[in-house]
Amino acid sequence: MPLTPSESDRLLLFLQGELARARRGRGLRLNVPEATAYIADAVCEMARDGEDLPTTRERGRHLLTRADVMDDVPDLLTEVRVEARFDDGTRLVVVNDLWETPASDANPSPAPLVEGEIEVRNEAATAIAISSHIHLAEVNPRLRLDRDAAFGRRLAVPAGTTVWIPAGETVSVPVTGLRGSRVVVGNTGVVEGPIDDPRVRERALGALRRCGYLDIVDGVEINGLEAADAAVSRLMAERRDSSP
């Protein structure tokens, strides 16, 4: 039977695992490549023995203890990733939390200065998530918020994090201003210009309201879910009409 490239790699991994086992058998504490291969090879063989993926992953975590490896290994080797052939086919196994010390939930980034709070209600039937840097005035038409207050602003949360808004719920989100030269381009295409230009602002907010985006204007809720569902189609129609 001809070997695939991946099978050749599997045999290399076996050889590494075998050398690691031999060294462990001589009472040596394993280094990084040895410990990696020891775990990865054993994971593949558990799959061969017919175990399922969750069992294999869980057992993989406990194959070696700190006493089995060189002192610096737990700092260096935090995760072993290998593809094993289970009875239902090849599956990715990621073995982490190897040394009984779960990784701390590190703060991904400092939060920026909070300039205010805006209430956002999700009127869609599904949850909607808003990420740190999206231009808040242009988010999903089914989100009810004061889009004028949101204009030129984003969430004041650590970069790359998201706020999850379940269907039907209202969440108060911290906001901060966009920085740089404050030119918004892209997304819905309604801004396409400097956000500090009142004409740009008026044109953009007008388009969103006109097309059906849920909004709160001077304390009054405008548009409803039916309009919101059609909002992107209406934006597209306006776009077609204005740019032949």
């Binding site: 790699d9 260096l76 990733r81 980034s109 400092p110 840097h133 970069a159 790359g160 920085r179 740089g180």
Partner: protein, 549 residues
């Protein structure tokens, strides 16, 4: 450490060494970091500017710990355009973020390097290219510029034949590195050297095995002065026609690069180390004695015998070989590195050194010296930044300066070639994550080719796209001299040597310490500025056992 790389004040341990890297500076991106991925900021109109790559950059390396031997340490992103570094600073879209230095376009290729360390590609000035796989070992260890002395299993120490050099260049089209070849400068007449010069050598090698006499050294320096290249000098280990003071008399103030100045690799016995500490002799070390270890002397005799055509059954051969091996100079050499006297490390690959070990051995030596030196500065600073940058300079900018390449390679700075090595700090100097040559991923950690992710075991350091097809020819450079470049232009990227004849030890970055090194007549003791100098052999070198099979 934050998810997008460290912040000022964070202290990172380099590999399993005692070296502490303190982050002194980061671009002002707190809360507004550029990052690619699901829900991250690297999206059109947010972190990505909807502009062409000409208005932004071809490739960006994000949020990386930039180690530049000159500018120092900071967390920033590196922009690359057409193979050169176009900017280093804050990445993103200036339309919605402040202080953006590196504009990332919607079409810019992104290398997510958050939390990794970026260094310039290593420069190895001492390589015996007896087989092409030596280049694999070099690039897999983080070296991107190589000065070779052979192109095949031949008695080389320099190539002069235009025909041989031409075929070698044809072969090098598949090598994703900057490669220069040294010409053999062991000739009393300059015609043999001029012939090599016009056939695109980038420097000369004087070797005692082919003649390191008054006439050969002087001829080498005369031609080198004419064409602005460096002379790599392996002096007369027999002291047969010249002693070390005589070699200095022949140099007559002209600059040369003294290879393996410790002496195990060859040269005046027992006192070639006295060439170090002089302004016009740029000294370097080869890597087996870095760090000086308990087995260093024991392996050297067999290396000498094999590499230099000596026979164990011949008493006179054994005698001259043994005369090269001195623990005293090995111990002193390591200390002279720490003091900033010897500015360059190199391999001597396949000729008494190891192609893939210059990076880790250099930093293992830094660790050993940090532990033995007890210098007050690093204790007071609470970090080893000065030492880290000093040792970084030995593998990057200083060899570039010595050989006239420092306008193109050896730094992470705007307009330099984007030869960049990315390291996980935890395995820094031992094994790279990714090596970019000319701004393109050329070598790196790759896994099971059938997997759903690109990091499944077994991982290996192997070719990336920059190393296959015709890419190496596009990305790598041939290093040549100005006269050859104008006489017969090459249809390839070239690096032209410049400034080789005016460079001095005192120009070496984070080095340049000058002073008298003396070796006792029996070779048993070394002094520096009149005081004994030594270091203890390491019993266990960091960055070695932990990371390698």
């Amino acid at each position: 450490m934050s998810a997008y790389g460290p912040r000022p004040g964070d202290v990172i341990r380099l590999g399993a060494t005692s070296l502490r890297l303190r982050i002194p500076e980061r671009v002002p991106d707190a809360g507004d970091e550029f990052h690619v991925g699901f829900a991250k900021t690297g999206r059109d109109g947010i972190g990505l500017a909807p502009v062409t790559t000409r208005e932004s950059c071809d490739l960006v390396i994000t949020n990386v710990i930039v180690l530049d031997p000159v500018d120092g340490i900071r967390v920033a992103s590196i922009g690359i355009r057409e193979g050169r570094i176009s900017g280093i600073g804050r990445a993103g879209n200036p339309a919605v973020s402040d202080d953006v230095d590196v504009v990332v376009g919607s079409g810019t290729v992104v290398v997510d390097a958050d939390g990794l360390i970026a260094t310039p590609g290593g420069i190895d000035t001492h390589v015996h290219a007896m087989a092409p796989r030596v280049f694999e070992s070099e690039i897999a260890s983080g070296v991107t510029t190589v000065l070779a002395q052979e192109a095949g299993p031949v008695w080389g120490v320099g190539i002069n034949s235009p025909w041989f050099l031409g075929v070698a260049r044809a072969a090098l089209e598949s090598v994703p590195l900057n490669v220069g070849v040294l010409g053999r400068a062991s000739s009393a007449r300059r015609s043999a050297l001029d012939e090599a010069a016009d056939a695109h050598i980038c420097g000369f090698k004087v070797h005692e095995d082919t003649g390191a006499t008054l006439m050969t050294i002087d001829t080498a320096l005369r031609v080198a002065d004419d064409i602005d290249v460096q002379v790599a000098l392996h002096t007369d280990g027999l002291n047969e026609t010249l002693s070390v003071t005589d070699t200095l008399a022949v140099l007559d103030g002209r600059v040369a690069h003294a290879f393996h100045v410790e002496g195990g690799g060859g040269g005046h016995s027992p006192d070639v180390l006295t060439l170090a500490g002089r302004d016009h002799v740029i000294a370097s070390s080869t890597n087996p004695t870095l760090p000086y270890g308990i087995n260093a002397a024991a392996e050297t005799l067999d290396m000498v015998m094999f590499c230099h055509g000596l026979a164990a059954e011949r008493a006179s051969d054994l005698q001259i070989a043994r005369a090269r091996i001195r623990e005293s100079t090995m111990a002193a050499e390591n200390r002279l590195h720490d003091l900033g006297v010897i500015p360059i490390t190199s391999s001597d690959a396949l000729g008494m050194g190891r192609a893939g070990e210059t990076w880790w051995r250099t930093f293992a030596m830094a660790d050993a010296q940090a532990q033995q030196s007890c210098d007050g500065d690093s204790v007071e600073a609470g970090d080893d930044n000065d030492r880290i940058l000093r040792y970084l300079a030995k593998v990057t900018i200083n060899p570039a300066l010595a050989h006239g390449l420092a306008r193109a390679v050896g730094r992470l700075a705007t307009s330099y070639r984007a030869d960049i090595v990315l390291w996980d700090p935890r395995s820094f100097a031992a094994k790279p994550q990714l090596v970019l040559v000319g701004g393109y991923p050329a070598w790196g950690a790759t896994g099971d080719p059938n997997a759903t992710i690109d990091g499944a075991e077994p991982l290996r350091l192997a070719e990336q796209f920059g190393a296959i097809g015709r890419a190496p020819r596009e990305l790598g450079s041939i290093i040549t001299n100005e006269r050859a470049a104008s006489l017969s232009p090459l249809e390839r990227q070239i690096i032209v040597t410049t400034g080789c004849r005016t460079i001095r030890s005192s120009d070496m970055v984070r080095h340049g310490v000058l002073g008298d090194v003396e070796v006792s007549a029996d070779g048993g003791a070394v002094t520096w500025r009149g005081s004994p100098i030594t270091s203890r052999p390491v019993t266990s070198a960091p960055l070695s056992r932990l990371h390698y099979w």
